[in-house]
Symmetry: C2
Subunit: 287 residues, 2 copies
């Protein structure tokens, strides 16, 4: 498995695969890889002939005061993990390789970034869609793999692909969780031992919501109020509890056939997110 750092190199490396009409998969990551990323890479390896894992802590998706500088960078460990899982190539560019001149062209998606994480992270999703468009154009994969954990990101990227006719297919993979239910995240390593215990509150609030829906509750205001109780812990603050349409991200006032239940909270100084989808036609099986 090779590690390359420039746009020209990664293009050169995958040229042969492209002309051989092999399936190329891309797993875009910011590194600090965990088993959530691992599930994306493993699926890509199963479905594609060539799998590129990009590792790039993208500065344009971090706002002022966010954790760009302290975001974990663990390239050596990440590389070993990718190799073990059967990836073909790591693309780990520098910020200068990705943004050699001031970026003037951006991919903006209307409406979808307004709620959920977008409300507290202005400009975040513009950075995400733009860097993903760049990575797609550099690697030209047949399939790109994203995690359902970043639900709003997944919706935005899928919309971008459709609206801009990008010649690839997005494949989403389910959230991978710790034994107690905490969704895996590179930011979990920021948590102190006591914070780590409390961090399960996000998952617990989602479980509480599902149980109430299973019990027949459909009123979103009742559900949100019940969910909020899970966050009543010292050093924990809710950023949002939202129940929205899984495609339009529009708020629902009642649970519909399909509902995305999404939460964000700070545990200590660490911002965590989690979500579940509730599909009324398939409720029991999903418990």
């Amino acid at each position: 498995m090779d590690i390359v750092n420039t746009v020209a190199e990664v293009r050169q490396k995958i040229k042969a695969a492209r002309f051989a009409a092999k399936f190329i998969g891309l797993v875009p990551t910011m590194g600090a890889l965990h088993a959530g990323h691992g599930s994306l890479i493993t699926r890509a390896v199963t479905e594609c002939d060539t799998v590129v894992v990009s590792i790039f802590v993208n500065p344009t998706q971090f706002g002022p005061g966010e954790d760009l500088d302290r975001y974990p960078r663990t390239l050596e460990t990440d590389a070993k993990y990718c190799e073990k899982l059967g990836a073909s190539l790591i693309f780990a560019p520098s910020p200068e390789a990705m943004y050699p001149q001031p970026q003037l062209a951006w991919v903006d998606v209307e409406t979808l970034p307004e709620g959920l994480c977008g409300a507290s992270r202005p400009g975040h999703f513009r950075g995400v869609t733009t860097v993903c468009a760049k990575l797609f154009n550099i690697v030209q994969p047949d399939f790109a793999y994203f995690g359902q954990k970043d639900a709003q990101q997944a919706v935005l990227i899928q919309r971008m692909v459709r609206d801009l006719n990008l010649p690839l297919e997005i494949r989403l993979c389910p959230i991978v969780r710790e034994k107690d239910g905490l969704a895996l995240s590179s930011r979990n390593r920021y948590l102190s031992q006591s914070e780590r215990k409390k961090a399960v509150c996000l998952f617990q609030s989602l479980q509480r919501c599902r149980q109430l829906v299973e019990g027949g509750q459909r009123d979103v205001s009742v559900l949100r109020k019940a969910m909020a109780e899970s966050f009543a812990l010292p050093e924990v603050s809710i950023e949002y509890i939202e129940i929205v349409d899984p495609e339009t991200l529009q708020e629902q006032s009642e649970i519909q056939d399909r509902s995305l239940v999404a939460v964000a909270a700070r545990v200590g100084a660490t911002r965590l997110i989690d979500n579940i989808e509730i599909d009324l036609s398939n409720l029991q099986e999903k418990v």
Copy 2:
């Protein structure tokens, strides 16, 4: 030569060329083809194995009150012309084929659309960059051909390609002119006989500028004033006379090593544009 109307068809048609590693050229047009377009197609045929001409009057680049509805649509004549010049394929989608759902994802370029035509056509260039990104992603050409007549558009598209790492190269072709100097444009057919005679004033103002620069004049305010005299005709109104950097499109107060001289005017109800580049190191040869 085939004419196809859907994204799926055009992709299917060029698949074989792509896997044979043939060079694919794209000439994006709004139809109503003239010898200016012809020069792009001819160059593409010389340089590529497969040449796609797209013909699409893109609604998202027309503002309210602009000429979307009356823009000339001459597909049958256009098709014969493309065939004669050796194009491989015409892609002539409907608005519904290009925009099957409300468009939420847009390519925005900062700064560059602010002056020149962008000042009077808000949203125009967002429509242009977005539809070009879509066409590039649909056809996946190696080269796309644009005319220098739409100078601001050319700068924007080139910037978009670089900033978003689009895997193609933009090739620009010089303005094609009538005998009296009028730049070819699909909108010239709107002109009455008397307007047609007056329309040469754009070219004359540019020639006047070049002559003054050849005579040593470098002061942009003096040049603009002299150029304005060419437009002192009944039924003619200046929209802008600008002298800018050919890459940043920033206004220059003095002629620099390279300057883009661009004009827009209404002749009767018809909006026309034209431009020349002045390269001080190469001034005599360009006269």
